[in-house]
């Protein structure tokens, strides 16, 4: 807004017209994104250019996966945590990104069942997942960091899994 004001100097009418147009543009834009661009579960909205401030934001942007049952989803997540490591080690970026997003989506469906039992573990898992999403999207991969985060995730999820599946 400050930029617009400066650009149009003392011409108040033009300034207000531009402001109104911008408001209308923004409103229609928001409406479209809310109704038309329904995100696929597990997809990172940030991919469409939306800027994120950190790893927690990246996790927040992931939609919870639709799961049939908790034990199967928990098994799938354990399996993905392991295959994610393989994808990173073999430099398979597309697969690693896909798996990271699916892991986050699954966790978001499962976390409600684990939350009260071990809040510290849940926090750790969310930090690790946020870190994975951030690191896997980086232009230059830090493989050591990715594997470290994935290992931490593996251990953290192992700890909360019994509460989910029993």
């Amino acid at each position: 807004m400050i930029i617009i004001h400066m650009r149009f100097g003392g011409c108040g009418t033009i300034r207000y017209i531009v402001l109104m147009m911008l408001v209308v543009f923004l409103l229609t834009g928001c409406g479209a994104s809310a109704s038309d661009t329904k995100t696929e579960p597990g997809k990172v909205v940030a991919d469409s250019g939306e800027k994120t401030d950190g790893k927690q934001d990246r996790l927040a942007l992931i939609e919870a996966a639709q799961i049939d049952d908790v034990p199967s989803a928990a098994e799938e997540l354990t399996s993905l945590i392991k295959t994610f490591k393989t994808a990173v080690e073999s430099d398979d970026r597309d697969e690693a990104v896909r798996q990271a997003e699916r892991m986050a989506a699954l966790w978001k469906s499962l976390s409600g069942n684990a939350g009260s039992a071990q809040p510290e573990k849940v926090k750790q898992i969310e930090n690790d997942l946020g870190g994975v999403l951030e690191a896997v999207a980086a232009a230059e991969w830090d493989k050591t960091r990715l594997i470290d985060l994935d290992y931490s995730l593996y251990q953290g999820f192992r700890d909360v899994k019994p509460a989910l599946t029993n």
Partner: protein, 426 residues
């Protein structure tokens, strides 16, 4: 002639068919014996196996062990007093009390012709005797004392200990597995007071300082029934410890399987240890079966960076033993040194750290990150990047607690589970 043969055949078949149920009945009705300190006991109502549980006459056993028993027919409640301990149990109820604390029996006490039969396990838990089951002779073996021959001597216990002190971290882990809450235990090397993975089971346990230098005065104050120590750490203070309480010394800090067996015998928890070790063997076999052909026998290098900035490789210790059991090999260069702990002073000797896989359990002892800085210096060097494991993306920083610092039975399974992650096994 033909008719006679047919008749004989039919008679033979009838005989065999008739014998089968009789044999089965004998099998299920097999006589169950009880011995106390090797002497066979006889009872008016015989012990028996009901639904897979061995039930034994409680009153007669309690009295033979010096207890007094009273029975209230109206409430069907038996009260047993022995050595300052009061046990209350009720016919038909799985709930019992030992000194007011509620416990649950495997099966409800059964009244057979006026004799109360209770699960065998409860006899040990309530009367302080060691109980084992000899399946071959169907005998419940009760012992009122046990002598443990160990590395530093021989120690006799006169009842199953209740006030237990554990002086090494692997033992603390094992006590959690065996469901024996110590009155005191050494604190963990990091994550004090106790490692996070077992901490919730140790709430209220008094900490006794470092395992390398336990606080003897604090041990005295706890008035323990038994002290569990280990030769590597406590040989120098064994005599001092033995004056405080009967002390049992395990032979190898890192030999979690032996430590588990020793401690289970002390605590009367051999059933838990046996089941755990059987499951471990099964898991080891399963891991070996699942491991890809290229990784079978792979040379595994176990390393850490030291606080002074040097490094070392391990051809000994907890993780090493597990890798050996899993069928992995030791890097040739390390083996050639003949050392168990191979010092690597500088990057000039860096090849000693190499292997098909490198697992690094460097510990941030002080939590100030200084040692991690040393680790970064090593792993940033050009020579490091030239190691085979590093070039092949097979260098991993692992959990120092479950791979090294703990050394317990629960840690062993966590480490094995980590290997499913590292070797990409389902």
């Amino acid at each position: 002639m033909m008719r006679r043969k047919l008749l004989s055949l039919l008679l033979a078949v009838a005989l065999v068919v008739g014998l089968v149920p009789a044999t089965a009945a004998v099998a299920t009705g097999k006589t169950v014996s009880v011995t106390i300190d090797g002497k066979k006991q006889s009872y008016s109502v015989n012990p028996r196996i009901e639904n897979g549980r061995t039930l034994v006459p409680y009153r007669a056993i309690a009295e033979a062990l010096g207890g007094t028993v009273s029975y209230d027919g109206k409430s069907k409640k038996a009260t047993i007093k022995k050595g300052g301990q009061t046990i209350e149990l009720t016919q038909g109820s799985k709930s019992a009390r030992i000194n007011g604390s509620a416990i649950t029996l495997d099966a409800a006490p059964l009244n057979v012709s006026g004799t109360l039969l209770v699960p065998l396990r409860f006899v040990g838990e309530s009367l302080g005797v060691w109980v084992t089951w000899n399946g071959a002779s169907s005998t419940a073996v009760l012992e009122t004392k046990r002598t443990f021959k160990h590395e530093l001597g021989s120690t006799t216990l006169n009842s199953v200990p209740k006030r237990v002190v554990v002086l090494f971290n692997g033992g603390v882990d094992i006590s959690v597995l065996l469901k024996v809450k110590p009155v005191g235990a050494v604190e963990s090397y990091i994550q004090q007071p106790f490692y996070e993975y077992i901490r919730s089971s140790l709430i209220g346990v008094k900490t006794l300082g470092d395992e390398t230098q336990p606080n003897v005065e604090a041990i005295v104050a706890l008035k323990p029934d038994v002290i569990i120590a280990t030769k590597d750490r406590h040989e120098g203070i064994y005599k001092q410890l033995s004056k405080i309480a009967p002390t049992i010394v395990t032979k190898d800090l890192a030999d979690w399987q032996d430590n588990l067996q020793v401690m289970s015998k002390v605590f009367n928890k051999e059933d838990i240890a046996t089941a755990y070790l059987a499951d471990w063997k099964k898991q080891v076999a399963e891991f070996k079966r699942k491991l890809s052909a290229k990784d079978k026998g792979a040379a595994v290098s176990i390393i850490r960076i030291n606080p002074n900035g040097t490094a070392r490789a391990y051809n000994t210790g907890f993780a090493y033993k597990i890798f050996q059991e899993l069928g992995f090999s030791t890097p040739k260069a390390q083996r050639a040194t003949g050392e168990e702990i191979i010092p690597v002073a500088s990057t000039e000797q860096i090849s000693l750290l190499d292997g098909d896989y490198i697992f690094d359990f460097t510990t941030d002892w002080d939590g100030d990150g200084a040692i991690l800085q040393h680790q970064k210096t090593w792993t940033s060097s050009a020579l490091w990047k030239n190691l085979n494991a590093v070039k092949n993306n097979k260098y991993y920083k692992v959990n120092s607690v479950t791979w090294n610092l703990s050394g317990g039975a629960l840690a062993a399974k966590l480490m094995l589970d980590d290997l499913y992650f590292y070797f990409g096994l389902e």
